[in-house]
Symmetry: C2
Subunit: 133 residues, 2 copies
DNA sequence: ATGAAATAGGACTTCAATAGTCGTATTTGA
DNA sequence: TCAAATACGACTATTGAAGTCCTATTTCAT
């Protein structure tokens, strides 16, 4: 509960890696070997990060990935959003249709949880990749 | 990911309910009916909250639950800790033995995530039940 | 041209956590 | 003594996380 997924962690490690090499092109193999991350899992994370325009892919031999933006313009929040494909929602009613929660109408805590949600977003959004290089 | 469990939500709703009635004794049935929460699930949550000394149980007929502390001395963090039985850990290495993470030694993000963890704890700890009554 | 190195991406399995259900025992006030 | 309440273990079902496997496509270097 309240744990980041491994995919998000792998994405952060990879992006930090590229940033730490001054945006030199890096391959999945290089990163998965260095950090001991399952190759295929990382590969798919990188593909999502590419589709999310946080990194750029370079196909073919000698290919790999570089950042698509400067490291201080990529936040942990960005990575979570892109990798998970959904916004952070501390409760069901924040990440899906409110009607999906069967007690939505009776719920007395959604407003306070909304405040917590807002604060959490701020925490994740204010941590930039440039700080962790 | 990063979602509170229903159990925690139920616990918060129940504690807020009791607090809103000025610590009048309340039963599981009363609360589960009012908020449309599955009876048995709430019952077990209340038992955990009792063992965690956030509320007090009164057994037998005419029994029920009251708060064990004042509402401004119970935080969302307290409820999470008691209901989940474990501390909030945004990453595996914060909530279990670091060796359990196979990439712990190579991990380059545990320190920055530790900072995020610290900030999250503050967010959860600073929201007291008294604020949501 | 051809082959190796790389990304792209779908299909699948495994495992653990979440959410809920059921049954029974115990306590206690009226 | 009964009814109303808490206590608590065992079970099922569903979902999501994590990882594996396989094949296609792109592109550089020879
Ligand atoms: S409505 Fe209340 S219970 Fe339902 S998801 Fe939102 S916060 Fe949780
Ligand atoms: S060590 Fe790094 S990867 Fe492993 S759990 Fe901690 S943060 Fe996540």
């Amino acid at each position: 509960m309240l744990k980041l997924s491994k995919k998000v962690e792998y994405g952060l490690i990879a992006i930090r890696h590229i940033a730490s090499l001054n945006n030199q092109i890096s391959t999945v193999k290089e990163i998965s070997d260095k950090y001991n991350i399952p190759n295929e899992v990382l590969a798919k994370v990188m593909q999502k990060l590419t589709r999310g325009k946080l990194i750029m892919s370079h196909q073919g031999a000698m290919g790999g990935y570089t950042l698509a933006r400067s490291a201080n313009d990529i936040s942990v929040m960005d990575v979570i959003g892109v990798v998970e494909g959904t916004q952070v929602g501390i409760a069901q009613c924040f990440s899906e249709a409110p009607e999906n929660c069967s007690i939505y109408l009776n719920c007395t805590i959604k407003n306070p949880l909304g405040k917590i949600q807002h604060n959490l977003e701020h925490v994740f959004a204010s941590m930039k990749v440039s700080e962790i290089v």
